[in-house]
Symmetry: C2
Subunit: 460 residues, 2 copies
């Protein structure tokens, strides 16, 4: 054990042009517009592994942002998460050119069948030798629901009920359907798999019916590292039950502390250990050789920052840019006759439009630091030691500049201070990388209750 708390270090990504730093795809030298090419991903992965990152995490959505201004036009113009490509399919390409880097992918439990997804994740876990994690989301875009046969979003708490059953199905497939020693590959006896060690799962629930057996043999981790991002009450309960790594955030440090405490409490309530859940916040870091270099980068980011991108990303149900900047939000809503509109409930009616615009959708509001390397490291250490996080998801302003800067200026100093390991542990799985004692779910995790076929309905 190191004397100081180490930092978990992820690169935050999405298979699109403009993920969260809207407008910045236009920065000179930014390669984001090449995200459709396989070379974008192999270069990214090699660079992240050279810089010693733990993992690349890919966000995802399965619909267009078409609430703001009543259509997808702003999102399209901004490249705001559309076009966006499938996140799972870039992982095998990155796996070919790396040996240690982990890969987190986002997949929603709301629209696609668990059987096929379970097989895809097992395939990835095999291909990467246990280097994958799954960021469980339930989706939130109305357009996403309409891409999958529904008239509108599924109501929030109901999405989590579906997600809970989805988890039960995939745990049964990943943990219960095949025993560890099922594959014997005995050439002499002509037995590839011992059939007595494989079983149907026969899941019959409110939302899913799945027979099994799982099509894939046990992969290095079986269940990939379970990751979740949330702050809602249903989300915290879900994270307490399932998550091993939580992406958190909030308007201020106090709210991050509250979420961490609430998830840990929920974990204990579900029979798990409080420290079995790690917490990572999205971090905006701008650094460089000198204070002047940093200031120049910040100024350039400010210059390219897109207000429209941020407003569309926030799915704002009214258009504040259509009003004079010195009006208040309340006056603007009144002028549109929408003061009583449920969609505008909770807006800061007293705030001036100018201030409202400035605050809306600013990326990485909570953890944001611009400075020379020692300033960045001090801020990271404060968050680790005072706020209580375990790691960061580094927001990319520039690809690959943000990553290269962090690797060149920040990682060496973090290593000096014992916050980052000198290199990788060979053969380590994603779960072990993020604090797990072994490649598999810990014994008190709810996924493990199906191990060895316990709790399954058996053969017929």
């Amino acid at each position: 054990m190191s004397a100081v708390k180490p930092l978990l270090l992820n690169l935050f990504e999405m298979n699109c042009v403009s993920h969260i730093t809207h407008g910045l795809w236009r920065l000179p030298g930014n390669r984001r517009h090449t995200f459709e090419d396989v070379e974008y991903w192999t270069t990214l992965a090699r660079t992240a592994e050279e810089a010693g990152f733990d993992a690349v995490f890919l966000a995802d959505v399965v619909g267009a942002y078409d609430v703001f201004r009543g259509g997808p036009e702003t999102a399209l113009r901004e490249g705001l998460q559309i076009p966006s490509n499938d996140p799972l399919l870039v992982v095998p390409a990155m796996a070919v050119v790396t040996e240690h880097l982990g890969f987190g992918v986002t997949f929603s439990t709301s629209y696609e069948p668990p059987f096929a997804f379970a097989r895809r994740m097992s395939t990835l876990d095999h291909l990467t030798r246990g280097r994958v994690g799954w960021n469980v989301v339930t989706s939130y875009l109305p357009n996403a629901a309409r891409n999958f046969g529904l008239a509108d979003e599924i109501e929030h708490d109901h999405r989590y009920a579906i997600a809970d059953e989805f988890m039960e199905v995939v745990y049964k497939l990943w943990e219960g359907s095949w025993d560890d020693d099922a594959v014997v590959a005995d050439r002499d006896r002509g037995v590839y798999t011992d059939p007595t060690r494989v079983r149907y799962v026969h899941h019959t629930g409110e939302h899913f019916r799945v027979a099994g057996p799982h099509l894939t043999s046990p992969s290095p981790q079986r269940t990939p590292l379970v990751v979740q991002a949330t702050a809602s009450r249903a989300g915290i309960e879900f994270a307490g039950r399932h998550a091993e790594l939580v992406f958190t955030g909030g308007p201020d440090e106090a709210s991050v502390r509250r979420t961490i405490a609430a998830v840990r409490e929920a974990a204990v309530r579900h029979g798990r250990q409080a420290e079995d859940v790690k917490f990572v916040v999205q971090a905006s870091v701008v650094t460089g050789r000198t204070a002047a270099e940093v200031a120049a980068k910040v100024a350039e980011h400010e210059r390219f920052d897109s207000l429209d991108g941020r407003l569309a990303h926030a799915s704002l149900p009214f258009d504040p840019t259509a009003h004079p900047r010195d009006r208040t939000v309340g006056e603007a809503l009144a002028a549109e006759g929408r003061l009583d509109d449920p969609a505008t409930r909770g807006f800061p009616l007293e705030q001036r439009i100018a201030d409202f615009l400035d605050a809306t959708g600013r990326f990485a509001r909570t953890f944001s630091v611009a400075g020379e390397p020692h300033v960045v490291v001090a801020e990271i250490e404060r968050w680790l030691d005072d706020v209580g996080i375990d790691g960061i998801n580094l927001t990319q302003h520039h690809s690959y500049g943000t990553l290269e800067d962090f690797g060149e200026f920040v990682v060496p100093r973090l290593r000096e201070r014992g916050r980052r390991p000198e290199g990788y542990v060979k053969g380590q799985t994603m779960r072990e990388r993020f604090g797990g004692a072994g490649p598999h779910l810990p014994p008190d995790h709810p996924g493990r209750r199906f191990a060895g076929g316990r709790g399954l309905r058996g053969r017929t």
Copy 2:
């Protein structure tokens, strides 16, 4: 144009141990048991590209073969398509290490939502720069249906009705949702996509409701090369409407000729050109330096051939191995009281069990040749010129031996005879490789009726 008809050359694969040559995973030096590793696929792809193959085609199933002997035990023991991993996910890994090789993947229209699949294929088409094809299947295993919430298989013709609507949805997304010039990536104006050139698809049909817009920008081919394997009446009609490449076969050459003629007729009936459909048969080829070397390989294949594997693959609804070999099939069924069982209808009642066993599920029954290279080439030429096929899917007995033998012994002779090109055409898409005039569907293909947004319900 070459004076002789060229051969289309595919390697037939599946992401599993035992695809169609059952028992042969045990052959000395066979690497099939390493299919779960990414290196299996990168080596395969490099070897296939070095040998000048057009494409690797991956079969797929989404359930276990559990009809024979009333359970999945035989399939598990044999490694018969279980464990089996997702086929799409190995394509990006192979794309990283190749420049020209095409990739065909199998996906069923019966169980998963078209919106997500359309995005996955567009992602692959981008990552491979237009080197992908889609083998459209409707699935046939009862266990597959039970993995996706159904009690049993969807009835055959109804599966094709669903498939037709599935095609309509993906054509709308691939061909109609984005114009060619939608992505402008204009850094100065801050416009990534021109929103006037992207539209919702608003599909509302009997089986699917999909709003769109497609999440992915137009990929090199838009619609990947459409491939289909069938011989049923509904299948032939479907192929005539949609397929650009057909995998065909049958008990004899006459039946192959009939299928080719029937699909071409169906194509013309649907307003397409007869020659717009190419035909490929599964081919079993054993070759080597000398006749003795070939004979030794054939003998080794015979020795490892698994009867149980073939019977389970055929989903045989009774177990002929439980009967004396000199009984007839009819006597065996009578002994089981199953002469009137609908599942055993059509069996050759007069045939001796010994002969029945010998015939059942023999791989590549139609096109099967063992001999020195000139013998193999003569047989290929006969099939091209007399039977009227356009190419073969090479069945692997040994990985990578079958591929290496074909590359070393057969390809050079095919080149000498003008049946194979000397090298690859740089930047060629899968569609062009298989005879298309350009990267996109031809104008008379039904997928093209949505080009430019024609036939879509438009913005709202």
